[in-house]
């Protein structure tokens, strides 16, 4: 009887434990939707195209498995300066977007966090309101605003402020405008969450020790919101690097971004291994800031500011 019980309890403890099941769900989710697809992409990137098919990596023709790793796509990325330029340009645009979002978003989040408590839910709602409309529609809307015979140029012309239409489309201005507009909420929300938790007694203590409010902002508020700044910047930077829709619709041909190169390789050139290799390199580029972000989060969890 006792043996039976211990057998059951050990099975229960190891497999059907509620705790394991709960922890298992996100692991399973991650495995199914992130790890496995990523491995498939990695596999494709090291294969060759055979007609419209991707070559098999493992060859059984000799009776035993023969693994063929093909690095041609990676070699091509390394040799053709277009890819290097495009990666650099993607990082540049993502970085400028992040800095602009931070410059606009920080004061936004700061005043939201300082607003009367009863107004804060409304302000938060207003930040999230754009999400109620499709992202694609909002980008198209910008297009109609920015084109030569668009709303902005027409208004400025009819007011005789300008004589010839301003070129606001298909350049880095329209690209950055679209990117900043789309990603601003992702900067504001983590910053707001961080700043609204800031203990105002630190600011009182700083004032008490002879710090003017302006100085106290730079010496206390900004350093203490470091975690929010990093979280917001990562949330903007990482998707911005690989952004495809905004450069496609607003950026025109002059703005190089890796998302469009990836699209071209995949759908125009039908070169899956090449597209996958471009994606893998992009992931590696993004992993670096991710690692920084994770470290800051771990520091935060340990209580280190």
């Amino acid at each position: 009887m006792a043996e039976k019980q211990s057998f059951f309890s050990s099975v229960k403890n190891s497999l059907f434990d509620g705790r394991n099941a709960v922890i298992g769900v996100p692991y399973f989710w991650f495995l199914l939707l992130a790890a496995i697809p990523l491995l498939i992409v990695l596999k494709i990137s090291m294969s060759e195209m055979e007609g419209t098919q991707v070559s098999s990596m493992i060859d059984w023709s000799n009776g035993w498995p023969k693994l063929t790793l093909n690095f041609a796509s990676y070699q091509f990325i390394a040799s053709d300066s277009l890819y290097f330029k495009t990666y650099l340009s993607s990082i540049k645009y993502a970085l400028i977007t992040t800095l602009l979002c931070l410059a606009i978003g920080y004061p936004f989040a700061y005043f939201m966090a300082r607003a009367p408590k009863h107004m804060q839910p409304t302000l938060l709602m207003l930040i999230m309101l754009p999400f109620w409309t499709s992202f694609l529609l909002r980008i198209y809307a910008w297009k109609t605003l920015l084109v030569s015979n668009g709303v902005i140029n027409n208004v400025l012309m009819s007011l005789h402020i300008i004589d010839t239409p301003l070129t606001m489309m298909n350049n880095s201005f329209s690209l950055l405008l679209g990117m900043v507009y789309s990603y601003l909420p992702f900067m504001i929300l983590p910053l707001y969450a961080n700043l609204s938790k800031l203990d105002l007694r630190y600011l009182e203590a700083a004032a008490d020790l002879g710090t003017s409010p302006f100085k106290a902002f730079w010496l206390i508020t900004v350093p203490l919101s470091k975690a929010g700044i990093i979280a917001g910047s990562m949330l903007v930077f990482i998707p911005a690097v690989g952004e495809y829709v905004i450069p496609e619709l607003l950026g025109g041909s002059s703005t190089l971004m890796i998302g469009r190169v990836l699209w071209d390789e995949f759908f125009n050139n039908l070169d899956w291994p090449m597209a996958s290799a471009v994606a893998v390199v992009m992931i590696l580029i993004i992993l670096l800031p991710m690692a920084i972000y994770n470290k800051s989060q771990a520091d935060l969890a340990e209580g280190k500011p």
């Binding site: 203990d199 007694r201 700083a206 008490d208 020790l209 002879g210 710090t211 010496l219 280190k304 500011p305």
Partner: protein, 373 residues
């Protein structure tokens, strides 16, 4: 009514802080501080004592500059500082939660105020070293606040507020965050450091023991005004009202009427007993008064005392053993319950009283205070 003994032998002191008729009204209606005036002498440790919501913290925050008085003026060394922002006042505060900057090391926390003053680097280093030794924290200079114990954080907070050599140091519940055992040792450490530096102090506390051990003078506050201001022993032994007597320590209050009113004694008739008070009071015959009697001034015995005054009888309904002393709860014949505290000066429990025993409580004719309001 007797008054607190005056200190005529102390040298003439300089007034450092003067609060003149200060009132603070929140939201147009809530009177947090109600027409308070007070002077603090140079070198004094002055305590604002009261329960939560009595206005003591608001008063302290007005001294620091975090709140502006609705009415009234605050002077520091003769200068009107009522409208000066906190960062321009030569006053520093030690916050209740310490408010140590979590992103800065102990060293940087202490140096923070000095850097703002634009003090030369070598002088800052000097001063911080001094402050670290004062707090005995030299080894911990590079630690972050969260790596310190509660007592260490408390000392960092103290020396950070002392580093700029403020004219006035404000302490907001300085020991509130510490546990009881640590509090007792820290209290003395704190007073030693403050006295070593020789800074004038105003401290806010709800803990009457903290106020009595640390302060040279206490103001007992309630509902925004001062009930009594005086030295700790005066406030304890000569409370001027039922509220003060009740707030500071334990007290038994007998309600009665003055029966005899002579220059050298009065008698007060209460339902439980007749009090013979061995000094004159500021009442008159027939006046309803309260007689306050501290538990430690009551003696218990099994034998009926002789004489007609200053004793009563009752049944022991509760015995609370504290180690050093024992508190007996005595239910008097009138139904009133009084507390009597007996010192455990021998190892067998004194008096030999136990639950249900009939006991006699008696006291001498200078043990009580007659309260006229």
């Amino acid at each position: 009514m007797a008054t607190a003994p005056k200190d005529n032998n102390k040298p003439a002191q300089e007034v450092l802080l003067r609060v003149e008729n200060v009132t603070k009204i929140y939201d147009g209606t809530v009177k947090a501080v109600d027409d308070v005036s007070l002077t603090v002498m140079k070198g004094e440790i002055f305590a604002l004592l009261g329960g939560s919501g009595c206005g003591k913290s608001t008063l302290l925050r007005m001294m620091a500059g975090f709140e502006t008085p609705t009415k009234g003026k605050i002077f520091l060394a003769g200068q009107d500082i009522t409208d000066l922002p906190p960062y321009q006042r030569p006053i520093n505060m030690m916050f209740q939660s310490y408010a140590l900057f979590p992103h800065l090391s102990v060293w940087e926390n202490i140096a923070f105020g000095l850097k703002r003053d634009g003090m030369p680097k070598d002088q800052i280093a000097d001063r911080v070293e001094k402050m670290l030794s004062l707090a005995q924290l030299n080894k911990y200079a590079q630690r972050k606040p969260h790596q310190l114990s509660g007592g260490q954080q408390q000392r960092v907070a103290l020396v950070r507020s002392l580093a700029k050599r403020p004219q006035l140091l404000l302490l907001d519940e300085p020991l509130g965050a510490l546990d009881k055992k640590l509090r007792e040792t820290t209290q003395l450490e704190l007073v030693n450091i403050i006295e070593e530096v020789g800074v004038t102090c105003v401290l806010v506390t709800h803990d009457q023991e903290e106020a009595m051990t640390m302060a040279s003078r206490i103001a007992v506050m309630s509902e925004g005004y001062f009930l009594q201001v005086g030295e700790p022993d005066a406030v304890y032994e000569m409370p001027n009202s039922r509220q003060v007597a009740d707030f500071i320590g334990n007290v038994n209050i007998f309600e009665g009427v003055i029966e005899e009113d002579e220059a050298d004694h009065v008698t007060v008739r209460c339902p439980e007993c007749v009090h013979y008070v061995g000094h004159g009071v500021s009442g008159h015959k027939g006046m309803a008064v309260g007689v306050a009697l501290r538990p430690e001034k009551i003696m218990l015995s099994k034998n009926k005392p002789t004489g007609e005054y200053n004793w009563c009888a009752g049944e022991v309904i509760e015995i609370v053993y504290f180690g050093a002393h024992t508190t007996y709860h005595l239910k008097l014949d009138s139904g009133k319950v009084i507390k009597a505290q007996e010192l455990n000066n021998t190892r067998d429990l004194s008096c030999g009283l136990t639950w249900g025993d009939r006991a006699y409580a008696h006291w001498n004719d200078l043990a009580m205070v007659v309260l006229t309001h």
